[in-house]
């Protein structure tokens, strides 16, 4: 399947017969593998605390929606070791409305000021000499509330009787939200529409229509590393070390919050102990910055696991959809009403509503669509980005619909999808042309792997067997900006400065492979500097599977610039044209004149010094065409697409409702695998996370309060939840502009898991479940209802 790129060998380089260089396409180990195994690499929370550090405990709201009448801090202040207690009102007096931050709407106060909007919102902060004292003292704070009518869910919110925010306050980050400024009397903070053709008329004329309302509950990321932020003031500058995927964003937020220039803000990072979207945008950072700035103390905030559940979640989403076919089985219409519960703060929910709304019809050839995708405030923990960025929730809908449509028409769910899937050069419903999104190979490979056409075992009466398949489609975050700076050291090693955060995906390793490939260097001699906004250049964010493509391209460009520079040095030295020179693993060579110089000699000759550095800097920026205001269509909505597929064979225990995964195969089109080992880990890791979302993973709320915010109560996939057989398949349909053809892969296989399972359950026992997760109880209820036709499905 590997497509060989004609330009895989960049001009001006030559493959030399040498030892392995661990370049592009090689299964190089992570450079810090030993440190990760022995636990000696340092994460954010491992840094020592200088004397004078004030540890922060947070007092949290016990009311879902209430005016804050008074905050009593005397008892907390009386505790020995307590240095200060700070309320939202205290911060507001100094910082004004700047304490309301957020990536889409300026609606998140780092401490609630006059009103609280969810159970668990931060109300006041205690600074103490010891973390245990800080937490104990936070419990001694007493808050008087005047309760307001709560908005617990999407239905409450859309009834429009109570409002989580009095008016909408778009932040300055996204220009296209400006028209929402000052809108009052709504809980809907954003709506995306996609209109192609006349879906209502097509549906009217259609031969067959299937409909379903699906629900995907809120879930939590639960990276094992807990969030931690330290902040301090040094010479009038705010410096911070934080667990964040978005150092460049945090720098801007802190600059806005404190009203100081970007040059006076420094955000430092360490490797993250997992994140999956929860350590980005505004988490602990605005509070830490505000406390350090207003008290002058060095502060450290460590979230407990219970705190972490209150910082962000994945959006719960309800989708009411339909899919219609004409008499020949062509898909003529899809409608989709998507409602995202974004909780108390919009966070990046408006972007999720749009970016996933645009793929809500699915990756199929469809004549007409009508999508309405809304982001809705409720009085619950705020929802934000989570691996997949809202797309798993809409995939759950469109894959449920097409599976039912295939069955309704008496067609095979695999072949029916295959017939309609978008191909290279097709136009997606959103109006953008498809390239490097090989759905056909993905679905062919996963069905082949699980033996789709083999007979399904008949079972023993108790256990019944089934097979299911699904695909998923996602657009990469566009437009975004990536920068890279490269220092070639005189000894022929190199130091790469980028602001991509390595959180386990192995970005530091693949970026060095790209540099090594271009410069014919052993990639193990290339060091990648941890994101530090004083040193590493601006990069939009490490998220949305964008880094391999965007930052990878900046890295490719900066290495190519370095190659040109080095060839220029040799041309100058030898008095020959640079285009007669070639760079190979031994250095620069002029073959005709038999001139050769190693990189160390070349750099030393240029500068006359050992240890000198040569620097290049480059930028890569992607572009898009914004959605049409009325139709939501765009001829270039994204820089590229992710295409993934899953096929599963499973057995259902009809006595207990338990599902046993016999074989799960997943495939993702990654363009080109820079490091196949790391790609396979992303494919399988996302799939296993998807198994959790499918079978048991769920945040449970009771009157706005989370009831399972500990790891005893919140179930995650363990080694026991591995499928009996798990097959990852790398599909490589090179992207014309990707670095060596590559695209990202972190989210691709989380998209199709739940619908593949639900299709297999349907196949095994005839019940269609549209509410996640597929717990034993839910499966049993459906089986019982199917046996008793008088009951509706639950």
């Amino acid at each position: 399947m590997t497509e060989v790129l004609p330009d895989a060998q960049p001009a001006g380089t030559r493959q030399a017969e040498t030892e392995p260089r661990y370049g592009v396409g090689e299964r190089r180990k992570r450079f810090d593998a030993l440190g990760r195994v022995r636990g000696t690499i340092r994460y954010t929370g491992d840094e020592a605390n200088p004397p004078g550090t004030a540890f922060v405990g947070v007092h949290r709201s016990t009311a879902p929606h209430a005016r804050i009448v008074a905050v009593h801090t005397e008892d907390a202040l009386a505790i020995e070791g307590v240095l200060a207690v700070v309320t939202g009102r205290d911060l507001h007096e100094v910082l004004g409305d700047r304490i309301y931050t957020g990536p889409a709407f300026a609606d998140q106060p780092c401490l609630a000021v006059d009103k609280t909007r969810f159970v668990g919102e931060a109300i006041a902060a205690v600074l103490a000499t010891d973390p245990d004292i800080a937490r104990a003292a936070a419990d001694e704070i007493a808050v008087e509330y005047e309760e307001l009518p709560p908005v617990y869910d999407i239905d409450d919110a859309l009834r429009g009787e109570a409002f989580v925010h009095e008016e909408l306050r778009p932040s300055s980050v996204f220009a296209d939200l400006a028209h929402l400024h000052g809108v009052r009397g709504t809980n809907v903070n954003y709506e995306y529409r996609q209109i192609l053709g006349d879906a209502a008329a097509e549906r009217e004329r259609a031969a067959t229509t299937v409909s379903a309302t699906t629900w995907a509950p809120p879930t939590h990321h639960v990276p094992i590393e807990l969030p931690s932020t330290s902040a301090w003031v040094d010479s009038g500058r705010l410096e911070m070390l934080s667990t964040t995927q978005t150092p460049s964003y945090v720098r801007q937020t802190v600059s806005d919050l404190l009203d100081i220039p970007l040059s006076r803000v420094r955000i430092m990072t360490r490797p993250l102990g997992g994140s999956f979207g929860c350590k980005m945008y505004d988490r602990l950072e605005p509070l830490a910055a505000a406390l350090a700035w207003t008290t002058g103390r060095r502060v450290r905030i460590d979230a407990t696991r219970e705190d972490a559940f209150l910082l962000t979640t994945r959006h719960g989403a309800r989708v009411t959809g339909s899919m219609s076919a004409d008499a020949d089985g062509n898909i003529v219409a899809v409608t989709s009403d998507v409602r995202y519960d974004t909780g108390a703060f919009a966070d990046v929910g408006p972007r999720i509503a749009a970016k996933s709304g645009l793929v809500a019809p699915g990756p199929y050839r469809i004549a007409a669509v009508d999508v309405r995708s809304r982001c809705i405030y409720t009085n619950k923990v705020s929802a934000g980005p989570f691996r997949g960025f809202g797309v798993p929730q809409v995939t759950w809908s469109h894959e449920t619909l097409i599976d039912e449509l295939a069955r309704e028409l008496g067609e095979d769910p695999y072949r029916f999808r295959r017939r309609h899937l978008l191909r290279e050069g097709d136009i997606a419903t959103v109006g953008t042309k498809m390239h490097s999104a090989d759905f056909l190979t993905c679905i062919d490979e996963v069905t082949k792997a699980v033996g789709w056409d083999d007979p399904t075992p008949r079972g023993d009466g108790r256990w019944v067997h089934g097979k299911g398949v699904a695909v998923g489609m996602k657009a990469v975050l566009t437009p975004t900006i990536a920068n890279a700076t490269l220092n070639l050291n005189q000894d022929g090693s190199a130091t790469l400065l980028i602001s991509t955060v390595d959180m386990g995906q192995g970005s530091d390793t693949i970026m060095s492979q790209i540099v090594g490939e271009v410069l014919c260097l052993d990639s193990r001699r290339i060091h990648v500097v941890r994101a530090d906004t004083d040193a590493t250049p601006y990069d939009t964010i490490t998220a949305g599977s964008r880094s391999t493509y965007h930052t990878g391209n900046a890295v490719r460009l900066v290495a190519e610039a370095m190659r040109s520079k080095l060839l220029g040095f040799a041309a100058e030295r030898w008095g020959v044209p640079a285009d007669e020179l070639v760079l190979d693993a031994q250095g620069v060579v002029h073959e005709a004149k038999e001139l050769r110089d190693s990189l160390p000699d070349l750099v030393r000759a240029k500068f006359g010094a050992r240890g000198a550095t040569v620097t290049t800097a480059e930028n890569f920026t992607s572009w898009w065409v914004p959605y049409d205001h009325d139709t939501g269509l765009s001829e270039k909505v994204t820089e590229h697409w992710f295409a993934g597929a899953a096929a599963v064979r499973l057995a259902v225990d009809t006595w207990t409702g338990r599902i046993r995964t016999q074989h799960l195969a997943i495939a993702g089109d990654v363009g080109r695998a820079i490091n196949p080992t790391l790609v396979e880990q992303q494919l399988t890791g996302a799939a296993i996370m998807g198994i959790g979302h499918t079978l048991f993973d769920e945040m449970v709320f009771d009157q706005g309060q989370i009831t399972n915010a500990t790891m005893l109560d919140y179930q995650l996939p363990s080694i026991k939840d591995l499928p009996e057989k798990l097959t990852p398949v790398i599909v490589e349909s090179a992207h014309r502009d990707g670095p060596f053809g590559a695209k990202g892969v972190g989210e691709t296989t989380i998209l199709p898991i739940a619908p593949a399972y639900a299709g297999a359950v349907r196949d095994a026992c005839g019940v269609r479940i549209t509410t996640l997760p597929l717990t034993p109880e839910r499966v049993l209820n459906h089986l019982a209802d199917a046996a008793d036709p008088g009951k509706a499905g639950r």
Partner: protein
């Protein structure tokens, strides 16, 4: 306050702890061990695992005074050529790596009790440890390889 000696990877550390000080806090804040980590605080994820006389302990639930003088092993105390360490490295059994020291120590314990475990025995022993990156396929490979290397 109690004066106790924490014997960590063969080095004694005299530390002062309260009756209620957790072993994890004593190791991290007093001894400076950072390979044992708090993930959940309730003994449900295994990131804080240490070995006490070779037996696994969730140090986020254990009281430090009970381990006065007990030989403790943390992952950073294992040498590079330890068969379990080298097997995890060679099997690429890590993504973010935060939980991996816990898996390494659980594997040390397993192989000391059962030098050639089958896959079910491996998953039975490791099911209390959570790898959120879901590196489980590689972890299983690493344990198989470590059993082979330990036997030779």
């Amino acid at each position: 306050m109690n004066e106790i000696t924490l014997d960590v990877n063969g080095t004694p550390h005299k530390v002062a702890v309260e009756d209620t000080t957790l072993l994890l806090d004593a190791l991290r804040r007093r001894v400076g061990v950072t390979s044992a980590r708090e993930g959940c605080g309730v003994g449900a994820c295994g990131a804080c695992t240490v070995l006490a006389e070779g037996r696994s302990v969730s140090s986020c639930l254990a009281v430090a005074v009970r381990y006065d003088g007990t030989p403790l092993t943390t992952a950073d105390g294992l040498p590079e050529d330890d068969p379990v360490v080298s097997s995890f490295v060679d099997s690429d059994a890590m993504q973010c790596g935060y939980c991996i020291p816990g898996f390494v120590l659980m594997t040390k314990e397993l192989l000391s009790e059962n030098p050639s475990p089958n896959d079910e025995e491996v998953s039975d022993h490791l099911e209390g440890n959570i790898c959120r990156c879901a590196t489980y396929p590689e972890i299983i490979k690493a344990v198989r390889l470590a059993a082979k290397r330990s036997a030779t």
